[in-house]
């Protein structure tokens, strides 16, 4: 189908983008890589009055180091993230999860920031950012603000971004000394996660000092598996203690039922995939 007609703007900088959004009102929409938005426009699930294309804003591309953090420009494509040496060295969880996003063509255009701002609970990046305690750097009419991952994801396809705000970059800690893993279960023909698990584990020899676990597609937004994390703090790094902790994986989740999986099955998957993710992350 053909999208509803819209006005189009391609600002050269973040401030100009924010000004354009402010002037256009709440029916304007940001266009990043378009790989989620354009299908929605084509199906006429969305009909914005204006698209503000961020594709020409150089400040929003690329990855840089800032002390103990990496700062990832929101318009950095999945393909660029995947090949970036800083990401591979300091945030391999992001690289591993990004490799499972959609397909080559979509990764060539789809962006890291776009997949976060889209806030699809079945998307992989939101749970990864949640597990990493990422910080979202946002530009708006009254300046810049930072939002923690725990506050950024609000509900299904809803983030903390206001209509006149732009996600500029995402800051993730380097997590030196942690093991990480992204475990995902999906239908072969489509890369959307039925359930996914992002895990990070810090070990001290035979003991797990800290674990972080976030779940994809187990609620209307990514959720941290706090029960698992608490059970693992100070626990022995054994397969038995991991398996026991995973009994808590689905606590506090609200999985949906659809044609691909029932809520009960998703609950089962969350337990199994969390165990697998933790075993890989902890090297067990």
């Amino acid at each position: 189908m053909i999208p509803v007609a819209f006005d189009y703007s391609r600002p050269a900088g973040v401030d100009e983008a924010v000004q354009t959004l402010t002037d256009a009102g709440e029916d304007a929409k940001v266009l990043a890589g378009g790989q989620s938005l354009i299908p929605m426009l084509r199906l006429r699930f969305a009909a914005p009055s204006m698209l503000v294309d961020l594709g020409s804003i150089g400040e929003m591309h690329g990855v840089r180091e800032d002390g103990d953090d990496l700062v990832i420009g929101a318009m950095t494509t999945h393909d660029e993230v995947l090949k970036n040496p800083l990401i591979r060295a300091h945030a391999p969880l992001i690289a591993q999860a990004t490799a499972t996003v959609a397909d080559r063509q979509v990764r060539h255009l789809g962006t890291f920031g776009g997949s976060l701002a889209h806030a699809d609970p079945a998307g992989d990046m939101p749970s990864v950012a949640t597990a990493l305690d990422a910080t979202f750097e946002i530009a708006g009419p009254s300046g810049r603000r930072s939002v923690a991952a725990s506050e950024f994801f609000v509900d299904y396809l809803t983030s903390a971004l206001e209509p006149d705000e732009v996600l500029v970059s995402v800051r993730v800690p380097k997590l030196a000394g942690w093991g990480t893993h992204y475990e995902k279960f999906n239908r072969v023909a489509q890369a959307w996660a039925l359930v996914g698990v992002a895990a990070a584990v810090r070990r001290n020899n035979g003991t797990i000092e800290e674990a972080r676990v976030a779940l994809t597609n187990m609620a209307s937004k990514p959720v941290r598996a706090h029960g698992v994390e608490e059970a693992l703090a100070g626990a022995p790094a054994t397969a038995e203690s991991l398996a026991a902790a995973c009994d808590h994986a689905a606590e506090g989740t609200e999985p949906t039922s659809d044609a691909s999986a029932s809520a009960d099955y998703r609950t089962h998957l969350a337990t199994v995939l969390t165990r697998r993710a933790l075993e890989s992350a902890a090297g067990i």
Partner: protein, 197 residues
């Protein structure tokens, strides 16, 4: 309307388009590049795949305005001007990597993109690399075989050629310049610079 300029298969085109015009419709309906087909219309099947600045994209999920200033290669731009097929096209032909043929333009463009990044992929890497392209009739086996054989042919051509196959000045498409082409004379760059408005 928005004025855009893009190079498609070595020819520059300047056009006024509605912002909602999808790249695939611009290519087919305005520029006559009907080799690129619309398949699923929902960004799943990859039949509409083209190269944008050398990288594969689904042209049903790109607005023409986003392609402003880029260099597009469609399946129609792969063969040499004398009609000699690109090694990937040749391999699809020789291994009968198609039945109805509808997915073929996208399969070929994705294979060209994959082989540019990974000239010697394993079968598993080919399957992974083509995951964005769906075929509903061949069962994929001959497609995998075609990509494998094309990769081998391109490596052989590269080894035999005094100039790397990637040196083609037209669109930077690997393997586009067959080994038989005279050094220093890319087969089809004469169209570059033509302007159609």
């Amino acid at each position: 309307m928005t004025t855009i300029s893009m190079t498609v298969d070595g020819v520059r085109y300047d056009d006024d388009v509605e912002p909602r015009t999808l790249l695939v419709h611009h290519l087919r309906d305005r520029l006559g590049k009907v080799g690129t087909v619309v398949g699923c219309d929902t960004s799943n099947c990859g039949a509409c795949t083209v190269l944008m600045d050398g990288k594969s994209v689904k042209s049903c999920t790109v607005f023409a305005v986003q392609a402003d200033g880029t260099d597009i290669t469609t399946v129609e731009g792969l063969a040499a001007r004398d009609g000699e097929m690109h090694p990937v096209q040749q391999a699809f032909h020789e291994t009968h990597a198609l039945q109805c043929g509808y997915c073929t333009p996208g399969m070929i463009m994705s294979a060209v993109d994959l082989l540019a990044e990974n000239p010697d992929p394993s079968d598993a890497e080919i399957r992974e690399g083509l995951e964005g392209n769906l075929c509903r009739c061949t069962g994929y086996q001959n497609i995998i075989k075609a990509v494998r054989e094309a990769g081998q042919a391109m490596q052989t051509a590269t080894a035999a050629s005094p100039e790397p196959a990637t040196s083609d000045a037209g669109n930077g498409v690997p393997g586009q310049q067959p080994a038989a082409t005279a050094p220093g004379g890319p087969a089809h760059t004469t169209a570059v610079g033509e302007v159609r408005t």
